[in-house]
Amino acid sequence: MATVVPAPAAPGRRRRSWRKLPVVHQVRQSVGLQRGMLVAGLVLTGVFVFTAVFAPLLAPYEFGQLRDGDGPFGAQQHPSGDHLLGTTVGGYDVLSRVIWGTRTALLVIVIAILLSIVAGVLLGLVSGYFGGWLDRVLVVICDAVYAFPSLLLAIVVAIVISGGQSSLWGGIFAAAISITVVFIPQYFRVVRAETVRIKAEAFVESARVIGAGHRRIMGRHVLRNATRTLPLILTLNASESILTLAGLGFLGFGIQPTAAAEWGYDLNKSLSDVTSGIWWTSVFPGTAIVLTVLGLTLVGESLNDLADPRLRSRRAADDPPPAGAVEPGGALVPSGGYVA
């Protein structure tokens, strides 16, 4: 997830500052098994992002291609030299659709997370900072939305946005916004809680005393401190958004096969294949989902554990932890009340 985690390292720091970058710092901090899980997650995520970026070069065919120079591919062909992973019931090349699918998934993740961070952080900051009736109303709304099955909520939003049938960008935005609605309460709650806590700190008080306005206090003093736990939720949400996207696709709210490749849609179409023993149309897109989610979750979980002193694997005694295990910036600092 290195691409999404904001890198706080300012240019012109000392030479070893790369070690304090998020992720890099955590890899150095981790030991043994925990390092293994983190690195495995990073590798899987890296492969996912790489595949998404270079999909046109890697995929043997287009995602919507049904025929080549030798004529149509044919439906439900066994894996062979021409089609390494076989063809689907609709006559598409499975391998190509699996590869192109990474691109759809990545786009949806990035859009969904950007939107929900912006909306959730803004709402949480304002709500926690000013308090009052607006705060109460927002908290009750977010609790209600948060308690509701996220997939159902996403379905309702998908109906609203696209009416169910979609082009490439329409479909991607429909999926991304559906996921955003589900995620906003999560960012809202975290940022709001942190804001309420930080608001009472002495440095906010002193800023107010020297005459700083609300906007400056919120932007400079509260926001900077309230967003430190976000990378944790971010990686876990990234994996959740893939699952939601696939779920939507599986229920028929996916993107049309001619507009983009989407794993959930392909799995839905393979439902009847399974009964007749045709395995390659479901196993490969499904495995792609599992590996992507696995990679993101491993990264998220490891970061979470490293931030939680109760769960962090202990270093060997002869290898003392670096002075001040809490790094300024990058480090994911456990805050009070975080580990319930």
Binding site: L33, D143, A147, I159, L236, G252, T297, R310, G337, A340
Partner: protein, 368 residues
Amino acid sequence: MTTTTELAGSPPADGDAPARGSRSRRGSGGGLGSYLLIRFLLIFPTIFILVTTVFFLMRTTGDPITAALGGRLPADQLAERIHEAGYDRPLFVQYLDYLGSIAHGDFGTTLSDRRPVTEVLVTFGAATLELAVYALIVAFIVGIPLGLVAAYFRDRSADAALRVFAILCYATPVFFAGLLLKLIFSVWLGWLPVAGRASTGSEIQLQTLDHPTNIYLIDALRTGDGEIVRDVLEHAVLPAVALGLLTAGIFLRLVRTNVIGTLGAGYVEAARSRGVRESRLLRKHAYRPALIPIITVIGLQIALLLGGAVLTETTFEWKGLGFQLAQYLGARDFVAVQGIVAVLAVIVAVTNFIVDVIAALIDPRVRY
């Protein structure tokens, strides 16, 4: 406000978040009684907000009749149908009307097969309930013991394997898990049926019962026919495992995290030094106190289970609410979709209330 802060501070994605949000709006004072009352009253704004949100969201797309029949009927007939159903009135009037009928327990009538949503709920809800209970049983049987083992062997290979297993459970979409199970156990090995809740023969027998509960296991037991009971159970295995494993992974993680916490507590050390056996230490001293956050999280799982049930039921043609919801989605019957979603909102709000009450009864610290 500090209590709310603490609760809201836990990131929900993290398994052990106890935050069933709306618990502590009013802070100090009062005993169990007033806590329960306030918590009970909070059900209503929750339902109200969800129903309102869903209503206005669904209506921004236009009226359901155009969505279902648009393009298939001539314009004047379409307008007539819209007028009949009252969708040409101002939106706010429709909204009040809708709220009024929900208060009377009327969630609307489906467009595609003209059935009251409450009837759909009664017919298919039992099947979903049955599946959810099976899945929870699987989740408990798999998740809790494995979580204890992982916590005890923390940072060793058993722990590593179990944690990867937990993440895999979470990372596998429930419908893909279902497809794989189907492929292996039904198609290749032929041990278990591919789909459905019972074979046709058993289903006919079950229909002949008077006052069927629609919970097939109970109905099958009532027939007293061992073959039917076996048939029903065989059909339930794969859906229950697919949906149960999803939750099992979360339970495993949760038990592990919390038991690691309690294993480090002073009283566990004290008990160990008194010579309490390790197995007893784990089961009684470390596990019991760790149970409270687990109970709270089950509330969260109900929402997850309902969402997962939609996908599982579609995969296995398990004719429950979720399967029905998918059918209505396919038919663009948005009245039915809105009705079912509203019913589920009520179910979620009420279960969360029950879970909070149980948590309050067990742990005095919860009732502030």
